[in-house]
Amino acid sequence: MADVIKMKNVTKNYGKISALDNVSLTIPKGRIIGLFGKNGAGKTTLLRCVLGFLKFEGDITFMDMPITRHYPEIHEHVAFIPDVNCLDGRLTVAQTIEYVSALNSSWNQETAKKLLKRSNLPMDRKVAGLSKGMKTKLYLLLTLSLDVELLLLDEPTLGLDLVFRKEFFNTILGEFYDENKTIIISTHQVEEVEHILHDIIFIDDGKIILQDEVEKLKQNYAIYSISSDREEEILKHNPMIINRMLGKIYALMQSDIDIADAEVIRPTLAELFMAKVGGYDE
């Protein structure tokens, strides 16, 4: 499988603060990848380095093209959705669509028409006057009408309500993805994208602490549930996370551990994330 992105020893510092610390990773083609990390972990910096928006040390190649600065021509192959509020509020919906379609040779008019029909966007209204939900629809229309190989989503649903967040990811999956396309989703809402991901990357303090396939990861870990009076049995296996609830103990551990009469549950990505990155572990 060809690699879309290769990063080797990439470091990005903001003054004395290290936003990316010697990051090396490869992103294969045709995968949907979740990029998870706490606030300030380096998710946005990583994506912006890939696009060349930021200066960095190390090597990045995008589809075998070395990225040493921002090359606008890479946007013929990659679409980027940051926070939807970054659209130009001075243009109307129609002007925005016309502008993006004229600049992008990968624009697919048929897809645009189809999405436009479904969206009920007010064409003559200024983007600044749209609700956040409408802006999301517009951004989706603009992005999904581009026939590109890579889609980068940087906290795209920040501030959106649950309905729009669900609609956003379902539309992305339904309209954009096929096995030749790659999607990287950076988000806090782990549980909402979990079902669509193939791979995950956990980043913390500018370092990649885990990159793996979701299925493999879920097979390697399990949540063991037993009654509270058997806590000692759990503790001797050094669980990654322990929760105590309604007289029971829930512990996240390696899945190859054998504890008699324990109920074994598949962990969610959110639980694995908390276990790896930390947050409420005891």
Binding site: R48, L51, F53, L54, K55, R69, H70, P72, E73, I74, H75, E76, A79, F80, P82, N85, C86, L87, D88, G89, R90, L91, Q95, E98, Y99, V100, A102, L103, N104, S105
Partner: protein
């Protein structure tokens, strides 16, 4: 080319309101004059009998006056055009950042040169267009009034307006390119900050020249020479001695305003500033 057209259209649309402000100012100005005239008419303050002012024949001297009158007609719209060019171009490379949409525009496959050229050419061209529209409107209004008094002479008036207009168009390019250049360096109040730095260098050089008897060139005097000295704003009054015709005046002014080395220097100066600004813009990080 389609990309450049799309960028230019976008840059026109996002700046349209600012571009049109001079037109509203001029219309408001005319409205005030009309209102004042109507009030004065009904109060009996003016009692114009146009026939008293009708000129039987126009002398060569009248043509020269007509030429200069039309030159002056351009001054107010010209100054407005300079102010609005500064306003638009000193924000040209920063407005998208301020409005949080820089990343949206940067995520489009258009080169930095195309994007900068679009912003620059729309900033200059848009103000030129509005300026020319206002000047032509003023020209028509002024000549309707002059015709009422039998003093209408198209050629001398048009030549006066045309030469002055060219002078201001050139000033707009030079000052606009300076504002554009400073917008690549400073995020806010770019032109003002740029001027302060030039002033500081000017003062430093003046002090050094005075204390050490050096002969360092002063940036302000160079800029003044580059921008103003040969523009249509200055008129050699000796030409009004009566010994020359208005056509001589026109040729002289046209040579002084357009067909000279200064025009070439101005264009080179503007082009250099534009390319440096584009380079600096390209090297910026997009946060």
């Amino acid at each position: 080319m389609n990309k450049f057209k799309a960028l230019m259209k976008k840059d026109w649309l996002v700046n349209k309101k600012t571009f049109l402000v001079p037109i509203w100012i001029v219309l408001a100005f005319y409205l005030l004059i009309i209102l004042a005239a109507i009030i004065a008419y009904f109060r009996g303050d003016i009692n114009i009998i146009t026939s008293q002012f009708v000129v039987e024949s126009i002398s060569e001297y009248d043509l020269q006056i007509n030429f200069l009158f039309h030159s002056l007609l351009v001054v107010f719209p010209g100054l407005m055009a300079i102010v609005f060019t500064l306003q638009i171009l000193q924000n040209a490379l920063n407005e998208d950042i301020r409005l949080n949409c820089e990343i949206f525009h940067s995520s489009q496959p258009a080169s930095y040169l195309q994007r900068a050229a679009s912003k620059f050419s729309v900033g200059i061209g848009g103000n030129w267009a509005i300026f020319i529209i206002i000047v032509l409107f003023n020209f028509i209004v002024a000549n309707i009034i002059l015709a009422t008094f039998g003093m209408f002479h198209f050629a001398s008036g048009f030549h006066g307006m045309f030469v002055s207009l060219l002078g201001y168009l050139k000033v707009i390019i030079v000052i606009g390119s300076m504002a554009f250049f400073f917008s690549a360096i400073f995020k806010e109040a770019a032109f003002f900050k740029g001027l302060v730095i030039i002033l500081a260098i000017n003062v430093l050089f003046s002090v050094l020249n005075y204390l050490l008897s050096w002969n360092l060139p002063l940036p302000f005097s160079y800029l003044h020479k580059l921008v103003f000295s040969q523009s249509a704003g200055t008129t050699d009054m000796t030409l009004l001695s009566g010994a020359v015709s208005y056509t001589d005046l026109f040729r002289d002014k046209l040579n002084r305003v357009l067909f000279n080395w200064q025009t070439i220097y101005q264009l080179i100066f503007s082009a250099v500033l534009f390319f440096i600004a584009t380079y600096l813009y390209r090297e910026r990080e997009i946060l």
